[in-house]
Amino acid sequence: MDMNNLLEMAGVNGALQDPDTAHLAIDVHRVMSKNLVPGLQVETEEAEGVIRVRIRVEEGAHIHRPVHLCFGITHQQAQQLIDMDVEVGRKARIEVLSHCIFPRATDVRHQMQARIHVGEDASYRYLEKHIHSDRGGLAVYPSAQVELERGARFSTDFELVRGRVGTLAIDYVLTGRYHSILEMVSRVNGRGDDDISIREVGYLVGEHARGALTSRVAVRDRAQAQVYNKLRATAPHARGHVDCKEIIQDDGKATAIPIVEVVHPLAHVTHEAAIGSVDTKQLETLMARGLDEDQATELIIEGLLS
């Protein structure tokens, strides 16, 4: 299996052939291919045990097509450490589709530590999709510190629903200034003895800053999940919402810790958290159309994580 197989698996081969679509493909710590478009700079430095990636979107640049980042590991055993700096210039816009593909992993550690700065009135959208092996020998540690300037927008969507999770520990800290918007969505499907930890902390420090942290997690077999979402609003008219839903089956275990902290009388943050088995009415409606209980449950979870 080579990198091309991985890209095919992620369904991005076509995009990577397109000269107008920027991409960067990395196998462990080695750059396999790269294509840039005007307004986008990507520098990489391959070092022992780490690859450093520096992404810069020039001021005012609008990158019209999504940029593909492919982080794959073709080996069964490997450690991948990605150290990333992202700078989105003032009034720039970019959407990144990040594909993390580890279909053969039996003992793989994938770690990403990122520092992201989104400039004034700029927008950075980051979608991270994982494809894992069914064996569960993976440890994934994505972490980031995100700074949003006045009027900036950052949204991220993390999806790990194909293959076994293994160990996952998401750790994001975000700070939003005046009129900024931060949105984080995480969707994870755990089974076997998967261990899921999601920690997202947002600081709404600027007037009219807005934030939303959303987590959707399913755990079955003996899998466990802990979701810690915190939003702290310290400025007038800051608005936020924390929303966590976890479905458990079998001997799965789930914990949700939504924390909302408001230290200004004109700020407002809300939260909702629900943990439990599949809703009976949803289940019985599908069963009344002829699906058995397992099929109905799968469909409900598929929707929740879609």
Binding site: M287, R289, L291, E293, L299, G303, S306
Partner: protein
């Protein structure tokens, strides 16, 4: 003999008798209405026929095409062709209309697109939307009916089919009911509405968990025309007598 027969059905929930010695049968290919005041046991009867959780522990018998179904699960009953549309349909975060309808679809039956058209929803607008809170109650109600149309059931119970439906859309619901009938389904309408009740050929009147009266729909209609007021579950169809219809 009806396609579905209920015999001496009793159901007690948390010490309260909700259905009390109900015996009736539904005729194959006909449209029936089950009517009565709030708390009469109409929806409970449907839940017991469908075998929903909390409504399975019945005394008496429910037979479909001559065979008892009381020991069957919801999906086993559905596989026989029995189904139910809830008064308040379920919402599904993230589940697309296409998948929701696809899950119900019978082999060789009408398509999701055709079913949506029949209930007055544009396939182009709805197929890729989620069956979630972004849809109004009326839209979900129509979707639920569409999911039943694609299923092509043999016995379908529609609980308050007009609930949340605007007047302009009501005829689409009625067309859907007629489509079900044309498919050969036996239809049961659980309703408070005269307009809906008039879609049925036969009606069963419930009060206090008991079947009070049954007959051709016109004979049961007076209950909805102010000629009978709720009393201590002793009301009978008015045919003279006092204002409660008591002789």
């Amino acid at each position: 003999m009806g396609i579905l027969e209920v015999s001496n059905l009793h159901l007690t929930i948390n010490g309260t008798r909700i259905l009390n010695d109900v015996t009736l049968d539904f005729w194959e290919g006909h449209v029936h209405a089950v009517v009565g005041p709030n708390g009469a046991g109409k929806s409970t009867l449907a839940a017991a026929i469908m075998g929903l959780e909390g409504y399975r522990d019945v005394e008496g018998d429910i037979r479909f095409e001559g065979q008892s179904i009381t020991g069957l699960s919801v999906d086993q009953r559905a596989k026989k062709g029995i189904t139910l549309a809830w008064q308040e349909p379920a919402r599904y975060e993230g589940l697309s209309v296409a998948k929701f309808l696809g899950a119900a679809a019978a082999d060789g039956g009408i398509t999701a697109e055709e079913a949506l058209e029949q209930v007055g929803l544009s396939p182009a607008r709805y197929l890729h939307r989620a069956v979630d809170k972004s849809l109004s109650g009326g839209e979900r109600k129509k979707l639920e009916l569409a999911s039943i149309l694609v299923m092509e059931p043999r016995f379908v119970m529609l609980d308050e089919p007009d609930s949340g439906i605007d007047v302009a859309s009501l005829h689409k619901i009625f067309e859907g009911i007629q489509s079900l009938r044309k498919q050969g389904a036996t239809v049961v309408l659980i309703t408070h509405s005269i307009t809906v009740m008039k879609q049925a050929e036969h009606a069963f009147l419930f009060c206090g968990g008991r079947l009070i009266d049954k007959g051709r729909t016109p004979s049961i209609l007076p209950y909805f025309e102010g000629e009978c007021l709720p009393c201590d579950h002793q009301n009978v169809p008015t045919r003279g007598g006092d204002e409660h219809g008591h002789e």
